[in-house]
């Protein structure tokens, strides 16, 4: 269901009115019903999986929490001595681990089966085992996001960061809250889970903030992303494997804009909807193209996934016995390497998982490993880079240096997009090579005319997208200086505020006069 469709807007309006009219105690029930209705419209098939995930993690967390409580009780009783307590703790930990492992296998097993089964059986020549005639299986809506969310809840209970939720339906609301189902963000129970069930008063400020954020997101999605989609496909999805570098670079830049606008636009719409109910969800983007390094980029891009990977993959992996032994061994090379080498290996693992999470195809794996490798190498080379800047007497705090870092990072990120977007791996390498060694600027126009066929239809889309990109760029600068765009917006006088809103509305509505068809959200496919 499109976030800007009549169906969704009607569900939202009814939910909104009911939420603030009905007694505050049942506000969360109102949201739960709305989520069921939303899911119902997207297909009852989707229900089965989310209920399975909810049941398994809810009851697993219950068991795990019981074990945690048992230990606390035993400790408080003071009956057992230190050795006995340690033994008891080990027994409980073993039991907890079994529950955790089974639940992880079950949930990730479902996700993995739906995403990867066909690819695996086809790659080992067992095509007869493939489902749906070998074509991709239709993933239940939001399965990646709520699976990760469910696992994060279970892990937090396991690590005794939070205690388990006693009310099954409140927990179900946390997993199934309708705005987040399409493409996240991946929320944490201790923040959003509690907020969802807290009573909220009607605050006009929330409504304003929510509507403005929704509008801004819609402008990004429909005026920029949807307008560019067709052109990017025309450049990369044909059989043309020797395009001039100038066209390829143009295509990758378009993709860079498209991906950010589509994903962050969708997230803004989701966050805006949540804000209408007074709920603050996990922000997922923080002006990623202003990053000064690739590591910084991943702290600003798909933030919730990055945090999830950090908390539930990176740190647990680094703290394993094997990695701790490696850390000790690397200590011989110095303090820097004792940290950087294990961290580098962990990063490679994390980004390998990020890669295959996007899809089982090789180009995603390469993209993930590329990011992991660049971050690992950058970290390892840090002392060398520091020495260079000292030798060259560069002022690393100057605007010029920061600009250099931003542009450098932008280029590095865009090199990664070659592997993300160009599905054929040899072709991605060929086109990357052409970008550097066969730029052929003179062929830019004739090649685009050949690829696009109808230029007149494209030019108005580019104009709208261009205006949208300028708006996003300027607003990002304001947001960067004010720690948030809405913070900057609130400080302006009424004329500026209204002009900003008018600009967004105008660009959005004009974009509808050049229909692009129902393209959907890119990350809804993951």
């Amino acid at each position: 269901m499109d976030l800007l469709s009549a169906k969704f807007l009607i569900i939202l309006l009814i939910t909104f009115v009911a939420y603030y009219i009905l007694p505050k105690k049942i506000q969360w029930i109102c949201l739960l019903i709305a989520s069921f209705v939303f899911y119902f419209f997207t297909g009852t098939f989707n229900f089965v999986f989310i209920i399975l995930s909810c049941f398994s993690t809810f009851f697993a967390a219950k068991i795990v929490n019981r074990h945690n409580e048992q230990f606390k009780i035993k400790k408080a009783e003071g009956i057992l001595d230190k050795e006995q307590l340690k033994e008891f703790k080990l027994q409980l930990r073993h039991k907890k681990r079994v529950v955790l492992l089974i639940t992880l296998l079950f949930n990730f097993g479902i996700l993995g089966f739906l995403k990867y089964w066909n690819t695996i059986v086809i790659s080992i020549n067992l095509d007869f085992l493939a489902l749906n005639h070998g074509k991709g299986l239709l993933l239940p809506l939001g399965i990646s996001f709520y699976t990760f969310q469910a696992i994060s809840y279970l892990m937090d209970v396991y690590n005794q960061k939070i205690s388990d939720e006693k009310n099954f339906f409140k927990y179900l609301l946390f997993l199934s809250f309708f705005p987040q189902l399409i493409q996240g963000p991946i929320n944490r129970y201790d923040k959003v889970g509690k907020e969802l069930t807290t009573e909220h008063n009607f605050e006009f400020e929330n409504i304003k903030h929510g509507l403005i954020q929704f509008l801004f997101g819609a402008m990004k999605k429909y005026a920029i992303a949807d307008a560019l989609y067709g052109s990017i496909s025309a450049i990369f999805d044909g059989p043309h494997n020797n395009l001039p570098g100038s066209v390829v670079v143009f295509g990758v830049l378009l993709y860079s804009a498209y991906q950010y606008a589509d994903f962050s636009g969708g997230i803004d719409m989701v966050l805006g909807v949540a804000k209408l109910f007074g709920i603050n969800m996990q922000p997922n983007f923080k002006r990623p193209y202003f990053s000064i390094s690739l590591a910084d980029f991943w702290r600003r891009w798909h933030i919730s996934l990055g945090l999830w990977m950090k908390d539930y993959v990176f740190y647990p992996f680094v703290l394993t016995e094997g990695m701790q032994n490696l850390t000790k061994k690397c200590g011989k090379l110095g303090k820097h390497f004792s940290r950087a080498i294990p961290a580098g290996i962990s990063n490679l693992l994390v980004f390998f998982i990020v890669g295959i999470w996007h899809g089982p195809e090789m180009h995603y794996v390469i993209w993930g490993l590329y990011n992991g490798l660049v971050i690992a190498i950058s970290d390892l080379m840090k002392p060398v880079f520091t020495k260079w800047t000292e030798t060259l007497k560069l002022n690393t705090k100057s605007f010029g240096f920061k600009l250099f870092q931003i542009i450098r990072t932008f280029i590095i990120v865009n090199i990664g997009w070659y592997f993300d977007r160009i599905y054929d791996v040899p072709k991605s390498f060929d086109l990357l090579k052409n970008s550097f060694f066969s730029f052929k600027l003179k062929q830019f126009n004739p090649c685009l005319k050949f690829l696009f066929k109808d230029i007149s239809h494209i030019s108005s889309k580019f104009l709208i997208a261009g205006v949208g990109i300028i708006i996003v760029f300027i607003s990002s600068i304001f947001a960067e200086k004010n720690d948030g765009l809405y913070e900057w917006y609130k400080k302006q006088n009424i004329v500026i505020r209204w002009l900003c809103l008018y600009l967004l509305l105008l660009v959005l509505i004009i974009s509808f006069s050049n229909p692009n068809g129902n393209i959907g959200f890119m990350y809804a496919n993951y």
Binding site: P244, L463, N514
Partner: protein, 435 residues
């Protein structure tokens, strides 16, 4: 406090509506729109007895001045480019509202329009807003807009900036702004376009004469009667009922097009017969003017300026023949039984050379369109146009021509029938992408 918020919200939307209206008018880029000028003339002209409706085919085909001379009746052509049947119905009602003296209506039926998508499936609305923007009667306008699109696009119809006329060229936007500010926009003068002249009463003459063979992407239009748009037929019924209720003498016609266009409509004769039979069942007249006998109307390719539209020479011939037809008592003698019959009586000739690019742009497949007998030998000479040089590449009878590899430029292809040159086409190509 609540009142303050309410007033603020109200003012916000009020200012927005005003702002979007002005921006929309500038973005509209219609300062030289033919529909705008034609509709203005429709509203202000006096005495219209005969009304012609249809798209660009009709307003280029009928010389309204000559019509008046030959029939002594004042006519008006209320047609604009891309006009579809629902716009025709709206304009008919508008015209009758402002000109109660209209007694006779001719509606041009373009065969291809019968297979347009249903109105609620439309996603392009250029012609919809070209019509609605220029309807003055609010009831007719509202009725038209409510049916012209699905409810999903009602916002587009309501807001000026939502209308599908965004013109990205800065020059066009500056010109619109200038025209608005200087008041020239409201003078409704037809822009001076080279080789074209607005003769008045909806007729536009063009002095360009097509001397080449036609060439387009090859697409045969194989019409299946079961796929005729239901919305089109429903709207036709509404038009018929309206004319009956308002005592309007209604006649349907199909304005002549080139043989090139007709030959690409594979089942044209089925179609023409279908329309004739359907109209007869409703006691209506339908004249397929493509079937007019050569002794009454002999149109050559030089009487057209492109594959579908007549130039001033063609319009003169057509108007002459048309006026004779409608004033004649024995109309059936004017027509062939079918287009096939008409074609069989003409000499062998190539009208056009269509093409498809195959194999992702590596080769060109040619499709000769013409009155061609089965034993006729067709051959091609292929040249590479480089700067101002014409380099002969090869001669072949194979209609599939491979482009030079890893190159870009233009090919010139000459087509011969039994070794007689019929015409040539130029085709740009780009194969540098091939590894």
């Amino acid at each position: 406090m609540k009142n303050k918020i309410f007033i603020k919200v109200l003012l916000f939307f009020l200012f927005f509506f005003i702002l979007q209206y002005f921006i929309g008018r500038i973005l509209r880029g219609d300062y030289n729109s033919f529909a705008r000028i034609m509709m203005q003339e429709l509203h202000t002209d006096e005495n219209i007895e005969v009304l012609f409706l249809g798209d660009s085919h009709i307003y280029r085909a009928l010389d309204t001045g000559k019509f008046k001379t030959l029939t002594n009746k004042d006519c008006f052509i209320a047609g604009f480019p891309g006009e579809e049947i629902d716009a025709t119905y709206a304009i008919l009602k508008e015209a009758k509202y402002y000109h109660p003296e209209i007694s006779e209506v001719f509606i041009d039926i373009d065969v291809t329009q019968l297979f347009n998508e249903d109105f609620n499936k439309r996603t392009q609305f250029k012609h919809v807003y070209a019509c609605s923007n220029n309807l003055k009667n609010p009831k007719i306008k509202a009725e038209f807009l409510l049916n012209a699109t699905s409810p999903y696009y009602y916002l587009n119809s309501t807001l000026e900036i939502g209308k599908n006329r965004i013109n990205p060229k800065p020059k066009s936007m500056i010109n619109t702004f200038k025209y608005l500010i200087t008041g020239k926009y409201f003078k409704f003068s037809y822009p001076s376009i080279k080789n074209e002249k607005f003769e008045g009463r909806g007729y536009v003459s063009c002095s360009i004469s097509n001397k080449k063979i036609y060439s387009e992407n090859y697409l045969l239009q194989n019409f299946e009667l079961e796929k005729i748009s239901k919305d089109y037929l429903n709207t036709l019924d509404k038009i018929i009922d309206y004319c009956l209720q308002n005592n309007l003498k209604l006649t349907f016609i199909s304005v002549p097009e080139t043989d090139y266009t007709l030959l690409k409509q594979v089942t044209y004769d089925d179609f023409s017969k279908y329309l004739f039979t359907e109209m007869k069942e409703h006691n209506l007249n339908y004249y397929d003017l493509n079937l007019l006998k050569i002794e009454y109307l002999n149109l050559k390719s030089t009487d057209f300026y492109d594959s579908e539209h007549m130039n001033s020479k063609g319009a003169e011939k057509f108007t002459d023949a048309f006026c004779k037809l409608i004033t004649s008592d024995s109309k059936e003698n004017y027509f062939y039984e079918s287009y096939e019959e008409k074609l069989s009586l003409q000499p062998e000739k190539l009208f056009g050379l269509d093409f498809i690019e195959n194999d992702n742009g590596k080769s060109l497949e040619l499709f000769p369109i013409g009155n061609i007998k089965t034993d006729t030998q067709i051959s091609y000479k292929v040249f590479l146009l480089e700067d101002k040089n014409k380099i002969e590449l090869f001669e072949t009878q194979n209609p599939v021509i491979e482009y030079p590899v890893n190159s870009k430029g233009k090919l010139l292809v000459e087509c011969y029938m039994n070794n007689n040159l019929q015409g040539s086409i130029e085709k740009p190509f780009y194969t540098n992408w091939i590894k």
